[in-house]
């Protein structure tokens, strides 16, 4: 019964895969057309996955358990890929440069592949999850995660570019990248978008917990890891205020922050135990 949305998500996976190939081929083949096609495919993926989310939402209502489609591992993965794609398209449009695609869209693709391996059924929500805070909480967190993903992808580009610039080598795939100063700035800019969203995500989570069981903070592993991620990016921001922490070290901190983000998002559920274990 609920297969239409899954088919659409499968199609989204295919689109992300194709777009990734296009973006990477663009770096090697240096043909702008390839990247332009990549952009169109990403736009198509944005449309298809948005429709898929809507269909899934509608299907849950048909099943009599109407709920927002962001409540189990499968749904959160596709929603993550959805957010990353949109945030990426925004950056591409703003910076008029398509080289970022090769470093960001494969992450969306990998996320969708991972989603393929998880159970895709629509299940009713346990009473604890039935709250409007859930919407605010999940959406803010995921916008934050998406921003951090873009930041880390660009940080990798920065490291590649800076190395070549130091060696005064031009050309190569790095030749198409924006200059390292722009990349450095974008690493930072993505984070200052992600940070307030993560903050809002943590706060709405706390508000929800307070409304559901009267404790806004209980140091469960998921909460604690979201705090750790928050602290890593706070360290990043302060490191930038004191001179000498631009460029390489900032890029590395951004990548570390992304690693912490992924652990917070997936590692905690798959490795540690606690309240937020999806589905259980």
């Amino acid at each position: 019964m609920n297969t239409l949305n899954v088919h659409l998500f499968d199609l989204t996976t295919l689109l992300f895969g194709t777009a990734s190939v296009n973006y990477v081929a663009y770096l090697y083949g240096k043909r702008e057309t390839l990247a332009r096609i990549g952009t169109w495919i990403c736009l198509a993926a944005a449309v298809v996955s948005t429709v898929a989310l809507g269909v899934r939402w509608a299907e849950s209502y048909q099943m009599g358990i109407g709920r927002i489609p962001v409540t189990n591992l499968y749904e959160s993965l596709v929603f993550f890929a959805w957010s990353v794609n949109l945030f990426y398209l925004l950056v591409e449009w703003k910076y008029k440069n398509r080289t970022f695609g090769a470093f960001v869209i494969p992450i969306a693709f990998a996320t969708m592949l991972f989603a393929l391996t998880s159970e895709s059924g629509i299940h009713p929500l346990v009473p604890a999850l039935q709250s409007y805070w859930l919407h605010a909480h999940v959406i803010t967190c995921f916008v934050g995660y998406a921003a951090f993903t873009v930041s880390a992808g660009v940080a990798v580009m920065y490291l590649m570019k800076a190395k070549r610039e130091e060696a005064k080598v031009t050309g190569g795939i790095v030749g198409l990248f924006p200059v390292s100063k722009v990349l450095d700035d974008l690493v930072y800019r993505s984070i200052i978008w992600g940070f307030p969203f993560l903050t809002a995500g943590i706060i709405t989570g706390a508000a929800w917990a307070n409304y559901a069981w009267g404790t806004y903070w209980s140091w469960d592993p998921k909460e604690t890891w979201s705090l750790i991620v928050w602290l890593v990016y706070a360290a990043f921001l302060h490191a930038r205020i004191t001179r000498g922490w631009h460029g390489r070290r900032a890029a590395i901190l951004s990548i570390a922050g992304f690693a912490a983000t992924i652990f917070c998002y997936l590692g905690v559920n798959l490795i540690l135990s606690g309240l937020h274990s999806y589905g259980s």
Binding site: P124, A128, W219, T224, L231, H238, H246
Partner: protein, 477 residues
């Protein structure tokens, strides 16, 4: 990347501390340590790293559980340093205190200076300062200074912000700024963090967390102990009128609900049906639906009729307890099935009559006359079963929680201001130049997003220079 003003504010404390160093070296060194951002970065990283420990080692488990996992020596060591409840350990609290101290000292050190620069902005620029500002532009005009000053003043007002005009050494200076509150964003964020801590402390000192189980139809005002405090007596009581569970079509629980009344001085003052995620609040005390269970055996009602069809009453049966039907025997309920072989709810009963073999059979709720087939002197019918639930309520009082939300609001707002509002400043100096000309110098600075400001700066200059050139022609000096 830093603007001139940032560079300047960073330099001031250095010189200020040199003065102090000559008098009180040790105190000064401690102070410099406490106000440094380096310490802040290390504190933040240290908090992050230590926090990981508590997510890897399960917290607040019973000792036996740890002993299964860890060797004796490891258990003793970890227990000694409170690793099993690390977020409340003295060393973690110490870290938080040091973090707060760092934040406070840093604020004490910097905020007054920020306030000063905001309240007494630099209204004039000189050659030295011009060099530190990357955005500068110079041009010359015919005409006299006051007239040009007036033209630029109104042009700046129109396209940027109303400037302050000062005269010094024969030059006229215009200074206009926008988004000055961006300077306070970081401080609002930091204050927000401290306020959250304060709220948490208030909650810990003046609040409590507890729970209570109330059977249906009963009321309670006495709460069970949890964490430290012995027990709590409420100034009112809560009655559980009814508890029920709703399920999805597949049988999974959909909602737990309790119909609660607050009773004060013998009067019902409030009534509300609570659910998970929808608590009841009375006098700052919150009641959350958190669990439920069986408060006692269910009660079964069975109708008794004579063979003639005449009613002989209704029996209430507790499980496995015999009840006597005068002139007949005893009956006891031994088993209940919500759906017996597809026929719906059914009750298994045993009828014992003196000197007879006990009879055991099922009564179907949907078929009240099915017992007639036994052809006995009395027939029994299964009327209903009433399960006896208690509702499990989490009870919390946290007078600090609104302080926490206030802090959260402040820290988020401060962050947005700090990230997205830029303090933009434009100076224009008009000085007498050679051959009776007016020398104009314009400079600009922004503490955020400088590429964007650069565009705006030159656009504004183009605009204000265009307007005057017109007036210049109409008005030959």
């Amino acid at each position: 990347m830093e603007t001139a003003s940032e560079v300047r504010t960073d330099r001031v404390p250095a010189s200020a501390t040199i003065d102090r160093k000559q008098t009180k070296p040790v105190a000064t060194r401690i102070w410099n340590f406490l106000i440094s951002i380096k310490l802040a970065i290390w504190m933040i990283i240290l908090l992050a790293v230590t926090s990981i420990l508590g997510t890897v080692i399960q917290q607040n488990q019973p000792p036996e559980k740890y002993r299964q996992v860890y060797e004796d020596w490891a258990y003793n060591l970890m227990n000694r340093i409170n690793l099993f409840d690390m977020y409340h350990s003295w060393w973690f609290l110490l870290l938080l205190c040091l973090f707060t101290l760092n934040l406070t000292c840093c604020t004490i050190d910097r905020l007054p200076r920020v306030i000063r620069t905001v309240r007494k902005p630099r209204l004039t620029i000189d050659a030295a300062m011009e060099k530190t500002l990357s955005l500068t532009e110079r041009w010359k005009h015919k005409g006299d200074i006051p007239q040009w000053a007036e033209t630029y003043r109104s042009a700046l007002s129109g396209s940027f912000a109303a400037p302050k005009v000062t005269e010094a050494d024969g030059s006229v200076h215009l200074y206009a700024e926008k988004g000055v509150y961006s300077r306070f964003g970081a401080y609002a964020t930091h204050a927000g963090i401290v306020i959250v801590f304060i709220g948490a402390i208030i909650g810990n000192v003046f609040g409590f967390k507890s729970y209570v189980n109330i059977p249906e139809g009963k009321e309670a005002s006495h709460l069970d102990a949890r964490g430290g405090k012995e027990h709590i007596d409420l100034p009112f009581s809560v009655r559980n009128n009814k508890f029920w569970v709703e399920t999805y079509p597949n049988g999974q629980p959909k909602e737990y609900s309790s119909d609660l009344s607050v009773i004060e001085n013998g009067r019902e003052v409030l009534r509300k049906t609570i659910e998970v995620n929808d608590p009841l609040v009375y006098k700052g005390i919150w009641f959350y639906q958190s669990s439920y269970g069986q408060a006692g055996p269910p009660i079964v009602q069975v109708s008794v009729k004579k063979a003639s069809g005449e009613d002989a009453g209704i029996l209430s049966l507790a499980p496995n307890k015999k009840r006597e039907i005068p002139g007949y025997g005893t009956v006891s309920a031994v088993n209940f099935e919500p759906n017996f072989q597809g026929f719906g709810p059914a009750l298994q009963v045993i009828v014992e009559k003196p000197n007879k073999v006990p009879q055991q059979f099922w009564l179907l709720q949907r078929f009240p006359d099915s017992d007639r087939q036994r052809g006995d002197a009395f027939t029994l019918g299964f009327l209903n079963i009433k399960e006896n639930f208690y509702t499990g309520l989490q009870v919390a009082k946290d007078p600090g929680v609104n302080v926490v939300w206030l802090g959260c609001l402040l820290l988020t707002a401060g962050m947005m201001i700090s990230f997205f509002v830029s303090h933009r400043r434009i100076w224009i100096r008009l000085s007498p130049g050679p051959h009776g000309k007016v020398e104009v110098t314009a400079a600009g600075s922004a503490n955020r997003n400088r590429p964007v400001f650069e565009k705006i700066f030159f656009a504004i200059l183009a605009k204000i220079r265009k307007d005057p050139s017109k007036t210049n022609k109409e008005n030959p000096a």
